[in-house]
């Protein structure tokens, strides 16, 4: 992997921040974008744009072809068996809400439960809480996690037996880095007669998903975390499930016939894409899949594991540094606290050194509560980060903690 060449694709990585070279270690919040992705969008918007699906004129047909090609590209990228299994949404959050309102509300019956875990992102907590307000006959179960940040599988299997209709778990934790044993989880869920949704927001940017092989019923993720644009994300679902699901939003494109006496709905995937879709963004996401495929997801995975090791090594010297999340199978994310230094102070001073990390609860407040901490500092690495950046980071970490420990 020619990192220098790759970094040329990301102009922001050459920026200065506060007079220092930017060291961007906030990739789990959102990744940077290569020129190839932005160019694909700009070209589309400047030279090829038109509304999709209903137009007979050339531009509309071309736009439709590009939009549907993007769907096929994403389907192939994640290892789906059919393009129609890929639904465009705004992101992980909308995908989860769609699942709650369309799948869970329609198919879960009185007394059934949704099983999540203590390490979930708010996007995999709040939609279920909102659903339960309307459906107080359903229950939300929360699987415990171990101190090292791995799922408590004993608790998982025990809770799964308690009338669970839908399991919804993160594939990779954004706050801890934990990669969950999805094959085992999917098998257990199916054996228990439950469906399973996986939050792949932090998985899809980092390794090959192979969703059909894994066998999950639903997989959700966001474009902006995988070198794609903002405003686009995916709900993958097995076709036979999607075909049974009622629509989430109503409007143009998702209908077959509208009349005041009754309306019928379109086929999957269009049934779930009401209104003018995010056309340029879908095209951008397709370009992001192509970009990552060109580099190679296996290469990316290996590179990021390497960076994780280098970073672990580099910060091992920092006094009083405690890492949260030490799963054996872990993405390139390090959540930590140094002594009693507040993450906000840490992040603010590191920023003065040009180092961008995320601080706070990472939209996982229940997880922070579980560890009895107000939040953490989180450095998250992408394949385009370098060993030199990690050295700068470790160096700034020492200086910052000295300054804040006065």
């Amino acid at each position: 992997m020619d990192i220098a060449a790759i970094r040329q694709d990301f102009p922001i990585l050459s920026r200065q921040v506060n007079g220092r070279p930017l060291v961007y270690l906030d990739n789990a919040a959102s990744s940077q974008k290569p020129r190839q992705v932005v160019d694909a969008m700009s070209n589309y918007l400047l030279y090829e744009h038109s509304n999709v699906h209903r137009g007979v004129h050339t531009l509309s047909q071309e736009a439709t072809v590009r939009y549907e090609q993007a769907r096929a590209t994403v389907a192939k990228f994640i290892g789906a068996s059919k393009s129609e299994e890929v639904i465009f949404t705004r992101g992980t959050t909308e995908s989860m809400n769609l699942l709650a309102w369309s799948y869970a509300d329609a198919f879960l019956t009185q007394g059934q439960a949704i099983l999540i875990s203590e390490m979930e992102h708010h996007a995999n907590i709040v939609p279920w809480q909102l659903l339960l307000k309307r459906r107080p006959d359903l229950r939300l179960l929360v699987c415990r996690i171990h101190d090292n940040g791995t799922l408590d599988l004993e608790d998982f299997h025990a809770k799964l037996a308690d009338q669970v209709g839908l399991v919804s778990l993160t594939w990779t934790s954004n706050a801890l880095g934990t990669i969950n044993p999805v094959n085992e989880l999917v098998e257990a869920a199916h054996n228990a007669g439950a469906k399973i949704a996986l939050d792949a927001a932090q998985a899809v940017p980092h390794f090959n998903l192979e969703v059909a092989k894994v066998g999950a019923d639903f997989v959700v993720f966001s474009g902006h975390k995988m070198c794609g644009p903002t405003g686009i994300g995916i709900l993958y679902g097995k076709l036979d499930l999607l075909e049974q699901m009622p629509p989430f939003m109503g409007g143009g494109d998702m209908i077959k016939e509208v009349s005041f006496s009754g309306t019928t709905f379109n086929e999957v995937p269009l049934r779930f894409e009401a209104g003018t879709p995010s056309i340029a963004e879908a095209i951008g996401l397709g370009a992001a899949c192509d970009y990552l495929t060109n580099i190679g997801m296996d290469q990316i995975a290996a590179r990021e594991q390497h960076l994780l090791q280098v970073a672990n090594q580099a910060i091992s010297e920092v006094k009083n540094l405690k890492i949260y999340g030490e799963a054996p199978d872990k993405a390139a994310v390090i959540s930590f606290l140094i002594g009693s230094i507040h993450p906000y102070d840490m992040g603010t001073i590191l920023d003065q050194y040009g180092i961008a990390i995320r601080t706070g609860h990472h939209c996982t407040q229940p997880l922070m509560e579980r560890f009895q901490i107000p939040g953490t500092c989180r450095a998250s690495f992408s394949f385009y980060n370098t060993e030199e950046e990690i050295a700068l980071f470790a160096d700034a970490l020492v200086k910052t903690s000295t300054m804040l420990n006065r």
């Binding site: 999709v52 699906h53 209903r54 137009g55 007979v56 050339t58 509309s60 047909q61 439709t64 072809v65 549907e68 077959k256």
Partner: protein, 145 residues
């Protein structure tokens, strides 16, 4: 009875004489007019092909000699021409032949823009519907044996 490939060849030849897009569309619409009349009583939702901006109806049955008999109509001239093209090529063929026909002629006569995934264009939907019905007949025939 000519084979699908032979009919395709003939159509390609007819269109290849025409340089002008207008002549091609005129020929297409003429083909539509050659379709045998489609009884009004069958112009119902049941026989309508979904996914076309115009209304397109298709009705098929399996003849005694196990060939698929196709009838079709549309309220738009171009759609009618397109479905007529398909009827011309696929009518009175066996279910298996229909299912395996690559139908390259569509590209060769320059009408492949009508095959785009755009739902406004019916050609893809028409083809899908014909193949679906052929599949049912093929299964019927197979299970009857």
């Amino acid at each position: 009875m000519k084979s699908i490939a032979e009919i395709e060849e003939a159509i390609i030849a007819d269109f290849s004489f025409l340089d002008d897009w207008a002549d091609k569309y005129n020929l297409l619409m003429d083909l539509g007019k050659e379709l045998s009349p489609f009884p009004d009583e069958f112009k119902t939702e049941q026989y309508r092909i979904q996914g076309c901006q115009s209304k397109v109806w298709l009705k098929s049955h399996l003849s005694q000699d196990k060939k698929v008999v196709l009838e079709a109509d549309s309220d738009a001239l171009i759609s009618k021409g397109l479905v007529a093209l398909l009827v011309k090529v696929l009518n009175n063929q066996t279910p298996e032949d229909i299912l395996h026909a690559p139908l390259n002629f569509i590209k060769e006569i320059g009408l492949d823009s009508h095959l785009s995934p755009n739902r406004a264009n019916g050609l893809a939907s028409m083809l899908k519907q014909i193949r679906m019905e052929a599949k049912v007949y093929a299964q019927q025939t197979a299970s009857a044996q």
